[in-house]
Symmetry: C3
Subunit: 256 residues, 3 copies
Amino acid sequence: MIADTAIISPKARLGRNVRVGPFTIIHDNVEIADNTSIGSHCEIGIESELSDKSPLQIGSDSLIRSHSVFYESSTFGKNLVTGHSVLVRENTHAGIGLQIGSMGDFQGHCSIGDHVKTQSNVFIAQGSVLKNYIWLLPYTVLTNDPHPPSDVVKGVILEDFVVIAAMSVVLPGVTVAKGVLVGANSTVRDNPEKDTVVVGSPAKTICKTNKIKLKDGSDLPAYPWRRHFHRGYPEEVVKEWLNSVNDLDLNDYDIS
Amino acid sequence: MIADTAIISPKARLGRNVRVGPFTIIHDNVEIADNTSIGSHCEIGIESELSDKSPLQIGSDSLIRSHSVFYESSTFGKNLVTGHSVLVRENTHAGIGLQIGSMGDFQGHCSIGDHVKTQSNVFIAQGSVLKNYIWLLPYTVLTNDPHPPSDVVKGVILEDFVVIAAMSVVLPGVTVAKGVLVGANSTVRDNPEKDTVVVGSPAKTICKTNKIKLKDGSDLPAYPWRRHFHRGYPEEVVKEWLNSVNDLDLNDYDIS
Amino acid sequence: MIADTAIISPKARLGRNVRVGPFTIIHDNVEIADNTSIGSHCEIGIESELSDKSPLQIGSDSLIRSHSVFYESSTFGKNLVTGHSVLVRENTHAGIGLQIGSMGDFQGHCSIGDHVKTQSNVFIAQGSVLKNYIWLLPYTVLTNDPHPPSDVVKGVILEDFVVIAAMSVVLPGVTVAKGVLVGANSTVRDNPEKDTVVVGSPAKTICKTNKIKLKDGSDLPAYPWRRHFHRGYPEEVVKEWLNSVNDLDLNDYDIS
């Protein structure tokens, strides 16, 4: 379960069935819950001058892939899954089911809800607030400095069910409302309205999200996606979604 | 040839003159052909639930640089060269002479021809098809989901001799025709026509590629590049190019 | 100070109080000055066919974080600080106080002045020239090939005090004048004028930088930033800035 070449601090607290790969380092100030696997070549629980000295806590049934780096004083609910070579700095606080794509770079001092999924190479600046059920596609960048360099931090707020397509930037201080879809390679400067599609630099509103049709032959609306896409979410979450989506159908989504 | 600290499965099949750097792990389901070098801190042949359980095959005379990660069930012809910290998932099938720039992220389930060259930090989504003699410059992103998140996969197709400049995104399902040049920081939504330059978000056609002049003092057309740029390609490939380019000169390239 | 599992060439020259983390490799052709720390899982001083065989020189009081890779024949003044997983190729020559954000990718054969700070995932092509006091925000890309692929190298020149916001590309051969601010997700094709803000693809001039106001409640001009932002710079540098900024205030910055 623990590779011979791993270096585990005797002060680190590891639960039952925790696996640790070769050449991985686990520092003192770390708590890893049951059934979690850490890949090879990782460094877990790095000390930081910017931390509050609380332990790094990794929830149960998690998977951290190889070459990843986590600092102390961050907390993750169960079922954290990461790609390879991710970096997570201190004071990142996330709920359950967080997915961090390979080469993701979370700068810490940020708040993340439940079931947030980021794909490869996503950058989360300090001060960001991500609510629940969010999708960030490859090379999404959340910024925080309105006039760099400065000490002013205006983090981005992403509400529930926000989807940001590849290679888009959200500018400092922007709030992206519930259910918004940001098109690829966009620059979000103005706060988009709920359930709209915004595209471009600066991003402009194109339509309501429910105008986009599924390309699976059904011609049904592709959004809100929680109506039809459930892979990887717990049953109780899906049940709750379906109830709320039905309400939405009758009210917010009819824009004829 | 094999570093003392490398961990090599006795089931892995290594050819003659294979070198393996310190702290590198080679798993069971791996075949590495003669004269190939693997750098330090790599993990090669990771098992995957999404694979068909066939071995990872690395061709002869290849070079995989440090901190790279390869999954099982991918195949590469001879003369694979990678930068550092590349990630290649399962079911990536590539011909000879593939070059993957540092921090490249190949998500697997894709098909790559001969002599494809990607520079740093290129992202290849599942379902992508890359033909031959392609150049992807830094931070090129090939996407695949037309309405994320979904289970619909519309991979991008890149025909022979496509060049994509830095920081461009190709949207799901797009086919980029032979010899197209995509300008930097573009978003390719519509299928570009053969031997055209497209730029912008969404990318618009600017001109035929042969309107761009070489900035080497010669004032000759910079495209088709295979007429003058041969560094790193085998002699027989260059010979074939020159024959076909001469034909092209008389036919497709005269747009006066 | 030197981890048991580190592999240090007996030919490498390490100063006093040099620390080396676990699983790090230091090759022959390396000189590391006093009080410098190298994190875990690094590879330092890789040989290169493209180098002039001079040693890699790391200045005193530097910090190289984990999973980083440096080639031979590059030189850095004191107080180099890097994030994790940075890559620096041969013939990179930098002054004092260089900061390289995590996953930064410096392709070598470039020249960097004093107190240059790059954030995460910045790409510096060969032939780039960066003067002093520059800030490159996440995912900045400096290119060099005007018609890829080719052997023509037209590096970018960034003058003192240039700031480039997230996800911007500077095209080959561009000179960015002193004090320019490039907005996020821009493509810089034309040479911007001194102390201007340029935004878009291609980037257009919006205003002088001093038209941007601080969002700290003061409503003072946010630029030139050296008037008010001094964190992390030596006292003598700040003193020099303040003198020159006062001159600028009376002359160049009054555009009423």
